[in-house]
């Protein structure tokens, strides 16, 4: 009789433990399916290089604020093509850049959620991004090089339109270093 009771007790305990473990594993699975709402810092860029200072500033902020960094490659689509057409050539430029930024972010423990946005111009692409995504901060490097990235007009437009804090980085001597598709540590000016 006692042996039977012990066996029943053991079976009950094993069943409860098993049920608990199954429920826990399912609950964890469900939780992982639901990404948490988090703060976002947008880092828009164009071309095949971005100021390393801008990337580092955005990463510092993201780490301090436990925010996710959203690097966004702005691509222009010629008017003769539909705006929503596939842009493999632009994507091929964007991919290694996003990879490089992600590698740098991961090394610093910052979460990343990258984007590629199309537009008829860089400003148009940025406007579409503002419509589509929500973020708390925008970090954008001002550059002394005409035509290299977003223009002064674009930055003024961004200040007016962005529903977030906009941090425009003053051009500095460190801007001679870039994060490029060729290498993560950046390279000297001239390769831009």
């Amino acid at each position: 009789m006692t042996v039977e009771r012990v066996l029943i007790a053991v079976a009950l305990v094993a069943g409860l433990a098993g049920g608990y473990l199954i429920a826990r594993s399912r609950w964890r699975g469900r939780r992982s399916e639901r990404p948490q709402a988090i703060h976002q810092i947008l880092l828009p860029f164009t071309g095949t290089a971005i100021s390393r200072r801008a990337v580092d500033a955005a990463l510092r902020l993201a780490r301090a604020e436990e925010a996710t960094l959203m690097p966004a490659y702005l691509a222009t689509v010629p008017k003769r093509l539909p705006l929503d057409c596939a842009i493999p050539a632009e994507a091929a430029k964007a991919m290694p850049m996003l990879e490089a930024i992600e590698q740098r972010a991961t090394a610093q423990g910052v979460g990343i959620d990258s984007r590629i946005e199309r537009g008829r111009s860089y400003r148009h692409a940025l406007a579409r991004l503002l419509d589509r995504e929500r973020f708390d901060r925008v970090v954008v490097p001002a550059t002394a090089e005409a035509g290299a990235e977003l223009s002064g007009d674009d930055l003024a437009w961004l200040l007016e339109k962005a529903p977030a804090e906009v941090l425009i980085l003053r051009p500095g001597p460190e801007d001679r270093l870039f994060v490029t598709a060729n290498g993560i540590p950046g390279c000297l000016a001239g390769l831009r």
Partner: protein, 387 residues
Amino acid sequence: MSAAQPAAENEGVRSARRGQLKVFIGMAAGVGKTYRMLQEGHAAKAAGRDVAIGYMEPHRRPETSALAEGLEAIPRRRLTYRDTELEEMDLPALLARAPKLALIDELAHTNAPGAEHEKRYEDVRDVLAAGIDVFSTVNVQHLESLNDQVTELTGTRVRETIPDAVLGEADEVVLIDLTPEALIERLRAGKVYPGEGIEAALRNFFTVENLLALREVALRQVAQEVEAKRLVVEEPLGTREERVAAGVPKAVGERLLALVRPQPSSQRLVRRAWRSAQRLGTDLDLLWVKPPSLPIEGEVERQVTALRHLASVLGATFLIEESDSLVDGAAQVVRERGTTYIMVGESLPPRGFARLREPLPQRLMRATPPGVDVRIVAHRGGNKEPS
């Protein structure tokens, strides 16, 4: 008598066999397609074949014109359109002359109104139907399926195109390859365009970037043609699984499937998958196997939109399959889409009872048709996703 019925054929001289088509394809004007065609025409003539030039476009290139000497040329026909006199290939005269081999330049050319056909490749089909072998030339950007891609790459849209099937009909496709630097050198030396057009060409189209992209497209296109011809072209036998199981060497194109989740970390998997698809020259599908109980709202909705958007940018297809089982959902899509290659993200080390389960790649391989490869993309950060 239609143009497709030459006088010689009516006289019972020509056999009923279709002529053989050899196409010289290049990345751009000036790589030497016409020159090579003429060289091979001379070689054929030296070997005793009856060769005639149906149409040749010398583009005011003295070297090309000089090479045409010694080969019989069928006189061009003059057609008047809106008070302008245009010169076109004289198809009836060529069919009447009925050489063994005709050299016909510029396969994608659009004929002047009044000619037998709108396009020159249609003329070529008539010539082939008459049992005459044809050598012809075309640039890769003239292929219909590549037109958009080339426009995207170079910013220049080509109006004269040919259906890809025309190239598929060729018995032989020869790539005339030249490095971009060598082509630009030829251009600068005035061997492609006369003096006044050189600078404009260098500024607009003949940039190293454009030519590199076009060269890649041309190399891929010819590789595909070669592969398609190498593989057996018989009718499919049964289902894909049966064909694969039977080891039939069927021309099955690669198709890549990336298993994603509505999470930012999936973006890296998509990037990897896309680059692999680019290298393989294959289509890419992105699949999220959605648990039926999970609503698409809030952050999930945002990430799904981001994945859909990324797929559109990349020219990939984003699919959502509802299933309680990732493996069953994926296997279903693999069968439907004819996937040959699956890419998955790295999984968390299993815990609890999950340790007893077979790892995801093995389960996928067992559930999908034989021959489907599974590749695991390593997670960069510390937050690995559970399988």
